[in-house]
Symmetry: C2
Subunit: 433 residues, 2 copies
């Protein structure tokens, strides 16, 4: 008999079925034993009546044993899902030691220390609500890719071992590459721009990036998944923001369409992405002053990001907010600026529920200007030979952005620490599992 | 006016349009100038009649200039695509130096030295037939992901910075990770198995892997994209091979459906994937002997792979061939073997047009047996603490495989060197661009 999933049992009332999974819990009432079986579809109650199937040695079973059962589905309004399985036969596929975490209790995510969840990652992920985070993350990846493919983008895979950094060498992890030194890519920035110039015009990449930053916060990890896009023949940075709105809308639709069960487990809905308001940096500063938050300098601090998002939710009905036109001073050397005011960059950030989740901009596409800016940042254009090759031979106006997958996931699911939205996070002290 | 792509012009005969792209070539006949314009949609002829638009300074233009043109589409049977654009206005978006490669000549791929194509990668990718390779590669990624999602798989992203290798430490690139040593992941093997055990059951990952191998062949690169899948609750390795057949069929369908223009440029069709024949290793050895090839030992050498594929094409009508049941001696420690003959592993390879493109197997899922095999391979189980955690607490029967994306692309497109199926390859000597 072919296996069915727990979530499919309700369609087979009265029929014989086969299910496989882990024993999430066992409870006995006299000679009747209630197993909660866990599989990728969810949980289901499976009943062993020792009077009917005395050959099953229930005493031998334990939590997390992997079993294969055959039985008949019965309606049972008191059971989760409204159906249970009356077991006729049971086979142990793998034995198991008692798990180090109580993954079968509700609210494991909130009740367990972050380090404990991460130290026992292969086990903590078995908790249905923790696993749900990564089902949703998978749907976010899918939505990002689907939207961009529908807009004519090509998915690219660029190298993670590089000879130099995109920003001159700070915060790079160093590798021994045969007889040479090399580094881990901080960003596919140069490569994705080169690919726009190669004539693919519109490219995206979903891949790891590496930052040797000594941060120890709930917002930072040293290896994360960057969802990058870069597009040519734009009018200005607003074309890139438009593309981002479409991508985020599709990402959230994907979650809503395919992860209903997971959202229910987490007790969450999805935010509306009708339209994302856009305000210039100067207006953001005015708002911060009016809201009584710190507003000075060339950037917005974490408290300012929270204040702006509160303002956006209240005044514009949006949990997302685009801020554009940041001062050029804090932006990378490849960022384009306004012709009428070179102190204003053509960059933008996307804030979501109080945190920056995206940074993007229109880039410089003129060779001469790029060389000038590289020099102005104190670098030697000779160190950017390959990057500059694309510009020397004709580069269209272009721009792009990068979304941090784990950070976006955490904000969407209201998870207070980005590490919990990462399967196996890497931080200053954590290199395992 | 909104921009259209060159491939869309045929639908707008007699209408005004706007196009943007690179000047692929220029040819002048008296006062009439024929520009070949290149955009992500392909090539189109655009005509400047100096008698009609004397204000356009054609002498100023050159190959690879990025331009924006407005004009009217006219039927022109002699032009590629059957239509051309009569230019009314032209704006230069970016100037360009003459490119170092003649990317506008046919057969650039075959006529240019590999090193020259790679040294000038941002430029060589502009040749339509070279760009086509990566449009097709993008479709392969999509097909792999689409098929697996439709089969209930979750896309995962696992760390590339790891504390130890999957195979005890050979061929690992070393990183300085803050105050410690770390390594680049050779494979997501342990992580994907742990994720099966976490209850996701079916997972896939498309990401970089790193091998510090000193090979210098046309089949090897030191960083490549591995398309991995791992699935739980299988009967045996044939379930994994079945999943692979479905994935490959969808990958090739995706190419056929979305890359007709690219295949035409390369002068190629796609192979039929009706069914992939499966033969045991012992039969493969018999065939090799009959075919007069080398057949001895625990593995099949490159010449043997070619001979088997010739046999498969001739006798079974398939360019793909699954060989299973390799001797356990040459397989990794986590490979399961037959109960009735422990010298025969439950592993398989997929050969395609004379080359191995996939390796997979059913894995050991019993904790005790895995510990025993780790010891038998001379390793210390304590070094595999996190991996073993998943098994100690209940792991279902499972198996999986990995397809090398670049190698698969090269075989599909009959490209003789895998480096040419890689955007920016990394080998023993090449770390740039």
């Amino acid at each position: 008999m072919d296996r069915i999933l727990s979530c499919e049992a309700g369609r087979s009332i009265g029929e014989p079925v086969r299910l496989s999974g882990w024993i999430h819990n066992i409870r006995s009432v006299g000679k009747v034993h209630f197993l909660i079986l866990r599989d990728r579809g969810g949980l289901i109650q499976a009943v062993i009546d020792a009077g009917e199937v005395p050959e099953i040695d229930v005493a031998r079973l334990g939590k997390e044993y992997v079993v294969d059962v055959e039985g008949v589905v019965a309606e049972e309004p008191r059971a989760p899902g409204g159906a249970e399985v009356r077991i006729r036969a049971l086979r142990v596929l793998a034995e198991a030691e008692e798990p180090p975490l109580e993954i079968n209790r509700p609210h494991v995510l909130r009740r367990t220390r972050v380090d404990s969840l991460l130290d026992h990652r292969p086990i903590s992920l078995r908790a249905p609500e923790i696993r749900a985070i990564f089902r949703i993350q998978s749907a976010l990846i899918r939505g990002f890719a689907e939207h961009l493919r529908s807009e004519g983008f090509t998915e690219i895979k660029t190298p993670k071992i590089v000879a130099t950094g995109t920003e001159g060498g700070a915060n790079l992890f160093e590798i021994r590459y045969f007889e040479r030194k090399a580094f881990l890519a901080q960003s596919p920035q140069f490569y994705k721009q080169m690919m726009v110039g190669s004539g693919l015009e519109r490219v995206f990449e979903i891949g790891p990036v590496f930052r040797a930053e000594k941060h120890e916060t709930s917002r930072h990890i040293n290896e994360y998944v960057s969802m990058d896009l870069e597009m040519g023949f734009i009018r200005d940075e607003h074309d890139v923001m438009d593309m981002q709105v479409g991508a985020i809308r599709r990402m959230i639709e994907c979650v809503a369409e395919t992860c209903g069960r997971e959202l229910a487990l987490l007790g969450l809905g999805v935010p509306a992405v009708v339209d994302i308001p856009r305000i210039p940096f100067s207006e953001a500063m005015d708002i911060l002053r009016r809201e009584g938050a710190y507003a000075s300098g060339n950037d917005i601090d974490p408290e300012g990001e929270r204040a702006l998002c509160r303002w956006s939710a209240r005044e514009r009905g949006s949990e997302f907010l685009h801020v554009f036109g940041y001062p050029i001073a804090q932006r990378p050397m490849y960022t384009l600026f306004r012709e009428d005011d070179p102190s204003v960059s053509r960059s933008f950030d996307l804030l979501f529920r109080g945190l920056e989740v995206t940074t993007g901009s229109q880039r410089i596409h003129r060779y001469d200007l790029l060389v000038e800016r590289i020099r102005a940042h104190g670098y030697d254009p000779a160190d950017f030979e390959y990057y500059l090759q694309a510009f020397r031979h004709g580069m269209p106006p272009h721009g792009g952005l990068a979304i941090g997958l784990e950070r976006f996931t955490a904000q969407l699911l209201r998870i207070p620490n980005v590490k919990l939205a990462t399967l196996f996070p890497r931080d200053r002290h954590r290199l395992t599992p």
